[in-house]
């Protein structure tokens, strides 16, 4: 149906996609696998008309295609679900879903009733109960993702490109998406799918193409591959156990939180983090995990409650207060709260700890360049030069740069909110090792993660949140996924999380 012939893409003199040829067939789920920066998103974006290829061509039903814009691709019947969510926050859910394809009456007037009805149908296809009349900005990240998927489904496309559609979804929503994909397949729609979750690939894919360092390693039927084989193809080496061993925490309490409350997001949250300890905040989307860590970091202070840090009561009104006390954080919202897109990798890394690289108010450029060079190497950030705008890096490399930024100031407590979201297995392993290294060095780590294996293998203790309250505090070594989930689940399975 669609054939890519020798497609190539360059960015700033760096070839990110070497000539690649793949074909996609109707009624087939074709997974594109690879580490961060392997060229998956680039390939998808070229196919969707977002990037112009620098070489090669795309054939669509036997005819050569030349997309000038994503609109051309949409008209041809190719839709894409983006990895970076792109909602328009002040429009309603229905307006977002039908954006660019509004049902119109006479004189181009938008037919509101029809718009709402269509949006509702599409959301029902995904078994979601989001109210299509709600404003987009009131939705959680997971709900936003569901809306983006509904938007792509609504294009009646013959081919749908899905770039990590499940990154922010709960298991329940993932299952609904998979059922929707099965229905699309039956209708003969071609699906191209990228993900970092191994189990998804083998549940969904008919064929798998593996990219590594911008080159196509090969394409094979999924039935010919095993997870271990796939990983070794992706990283070019066999992966040993990705989880390093845990060290023992000390007895010294580093952070104590008691009675932290900000209705309606969370209430009466209490827990401790000791030096050398990794504490995980687990729970479903919308359980209040991000809100709690945001309060500790001062992004959105709590209304009530006491934070005791290094034995002293700490009032955190802003991230500046937290940083001054020795608390650092890497956000889950890389694009919104992490990156300064136009600044170079170097200036992004040194932003928080810039004071330590200054003489008085003056930046010591030589010291800055030296420390940036060292950090880029330490964290294995792939960039063509230190001053390259960080927006041009792959998600995993951006994340590593942000970790470097956080750790440059040498905080005692490190808050990591979904540090491995949308990151390939190689980079994940690096981050896991880093977390253990920090713990061994006597730091406290507060980890928020939706991936249960990660929570169970990395942390010493797990604080499970459910709808803004602590449902349980568990020793990681004495619990399992099932117990965790039982504590995390609201009593009614289909209840929506609180807004």
């Amino acid at each position: 149906m669609l054939r890519a012939l020798e497609l190539r893409k360059d960015f700033g003199g760096l070839t990110v996609l070497h000539p690649t040829s793949v074909d996609f067939r109707p009624g087939e789920v074709h997974a594109i696998m690879g580490e961060n920066g392997a060229g998956k998103s680039t390939l998808m974006k070229v196919l969707a008309g977002l990037y112009r290829p620098d070489g090669g061509q795309v054939e669509w039903r036997g005819a050569r295609l030349d997309f000038g814009s994503p609109h051309d691709a949409l008209v041809a019947g190719i839709a894409m679900i983006h990895q970076e969510l792109m909602p328009i926050p002040d429009l309603t859910v229905a307006e977002n879903i039908t954006l660019g394809a509004e049902p119109c009456g006479r004189f181009g007037r938008v037919d509101r009733a029809d718009q709402l009805r269509r949006a509702k149908e599409l959301l029902q296809e995904l078994e979601s109960e989001i109210d299509p009349a709600k404003l987009m900005r009131t939705l959680t990240v997971a709900q936003t993702q569901v809306v983006e998927i509904a938007k792509a489904l609504g294009r009646q496309a013959d081919m749908i490109l899905m770039d990590e559609p499940t990154a922010a979804l709960s298991d329940h929503e993932v299952a609904a998406l998979f059922r929707a994909i099965a229905r699309l397949k039956a209708r003969g729609v071609a699906i191209v799918y990228t993900t970092h979750k191994m189990d998804e690939v083998f549940r969904l894919a008919d064929r798998i193409s593996v990219l590594r360092d911008g080159r196509l390693v090969g394409t094979a039927p999924a039935s010919d591959l095993s997870p271990a084989k796939l990983i070794s193809l992706m990283v070019g080496r066999e992966m040993a156990d990705v989880f390093p061993t845990r060290s023992l925490p000390t007895e010294e309490v580093l952070l104590e939180v008691s009675g932290l409350t900000r209705e309606p997001a969370y209430r009466d949250i209490s827990f401790q983090v000791r030096r050398g300890e990794v504490v995980a905040l687990a729970g479903l989307m919308g359980a209040g995990r991000t809100e709690v860590v945001s309060a500790i970091y001062g992004l959105q202070p709590a209304a009530r409650g006491v934070i005791t840090f290094k034995g002293r009561a700490l009032v955190v009104r802003s991230p500046q207060d937290a940083l001054a006390a020795g608390i650092g954080m890497v956000t889950e919202d890389r694009k919104g709260l992490g990156l300064i897109p136009a600044l170079g990798v170097d200036q992004n890394i040194t932003l928080t700890a810039l004071r330590t690289l200054c003489r008085g108010q003056l930046i010591d450029h030589r010291a800055e360049a030296a420390i940036v060079g060292a950090k880029i190497e330490d964290f294995a950030v792939k960039t063509s030069r230190p001053s390259q705008p960080i927006a041009l890096l792959s998600g995993g490399n951006q994340q590593k740069a942000l970790l470097a930024r956080c750790l440059l100031g040498d905080p005692d407590l490190i808050i990591l909110d979904e540090p491995t979201r949308g990151i390939d297995i190689g980079a994940k392993a690096e981050i896991y090792a880093l977390i253990q290294k920090l713990a061994r060095a006597g730091k406290g780590v507060l980890l928020v993660s939706s991936e249960l294996p990660e929570v169970l293998s990395l942390s010493h203790r797990i604080v499970v949140l459910r709808r803004g309250s602590v449902a349980a505090t568990l020793e990681a070594s004495e619990t399992d996924q099932e117990t965790l989930l039982r504590h995390a689940m609201p009593l009614s399975l289909h209840a929506q999380p609180r807004p």
Binding site: G12, L339, P341, A342, L343, L351
Partner: protein
């Protein structure tokens, strides 16, 4: 060289355009390429230049300042009021002018940061208020009878016009500041992504306040220089000055969305507008046509630049 810095390319592109316009004017007029005329160009651009440097700071934070022209008038009137011969030392009217500008800028800054009102609205309000205050303070009449010490500010120092020296000094200091000061880096960070900057520990409010305050201070300086040049405090002076200043900054490659831009770019933008103004005068183009041509050139220059940036 594929890795050639885009900023560099941009700068040279603009420099090339300026040289091209200059070459054209050298060939079509007898007077363009003369020390007297070029000195004149420099003198003419210096006020717009000082304003453009100031507003570069605000635009870099993703803000805007529409009150420049009115604040120029208010500062000029305030300066002239204290500049009557024999009243005060020359320092006093200069300080009054500068502080008036800085105060207006700080009010803008406080309303933007603490009040949470959009910069466009705040500075639009200041544009009207400052103009009104200038008329109130002066009683609607030009404030004349200024001391020779003050009007000497429009004269020469070692053969170079003092306004030009002011502009050069301001531009150099701003360039150094944005490059080497922590606060300079913070300005880019705030403009690039305000939320991320706050999360990274940047004191966003203080940074913005500084940008508006500095812009105001430099506007005050422009007001003093203008008053010295026209030897009066004119309550109606400076009409639409903000537009020329913002145009120069944008031509120089600063993004209205913030976070991207350089003082060198602003400098070239100021020069381009100055050379074009001068050229149109020398060619005897009527001022009606001048306005049309200038507008077309401003939009055209930015359009070319964005097209180049996309490719």
């Amino acid at each position: 060289m594929p890795n050639l810095d885009r900023n560099l390319l941009h700068r040279f592109g603009l420099l090339f355009v300026i040289l091209l316009v200059g070459l054209g004017l050298t060939l079509t007029t007898d007077t363009f390429l003369s020390v007297a005329n070029l000195t004149n160009v420099a003198r003419q651009v210096s006020i717009n230049g000082i304003l453009a440097v100031g507003v570069t700071f605000v635009l870099l934070t993703a803000g805007v300042d529409l009150s420049l022209g009115s604040v120029v008038a208010l500062s000029g009137v305030a300066c002239a009021t204290f500049a009557h011969p024999g009243d005060h030392s020359v320092i006093v009217p200069i300080a009054v002018g500068l502080l008036t500008g800085a105060a207006c800028g700080l009010v803008n800054g406080v309303l933007v940061t603490r009040g949470g009102v959009a910069p466009f609205i705040v500075t639009l309000g200041m544009m009207t208020v400052a103009r009104g205050l200038a008329l109130i303070v002066s009683g609607g009449r030009p404030v004349a009878n200024m001391s020779n010490e003050l009007t000497a500010l429009a004269g020469d120092f070692l053969g170079i016009p003092i306004p030009v020296l002011c502009f050069a000094g301001v531009a150099l200091a701003a360039w150094f500041f944005l490059r080497n000061f922590r606060l300079g880096r913070h300005i880019y960070a705030v403009g690039g992504n305000e939320h991320a900057a706050r999360a990274a520990g940047v004191p966003v409010e203080r940074v913005k306040l500084f940008a508006y305050g500095l812009c105001g201070l430099l506007t005050g300086l422009a007001g003093v220089v203008l008053a010295a040049r026209i030897t009066t405090g004119q309550p109606n002076a400076g009409q639409a000055y903000e537009l020329d200043a913002i145009a120069a900054v944008v031509i120089g490659g600063t993004s209205l969305a913030g976070g991207v831009g350089t003082i060198t770019g602003t400098l070239l933008g100021v020069l381009l507008i100055g050379v074009i103004n001068n050229g149109l005068d020398l060619l005897g183009v009527s001022s009606y046509y001048q306005a049309v041509i200038k507008g077309v050139i401003i939009v055209g220059a930015v359009w070319l630049d964005r097209r180049q940036a996309r490719s």
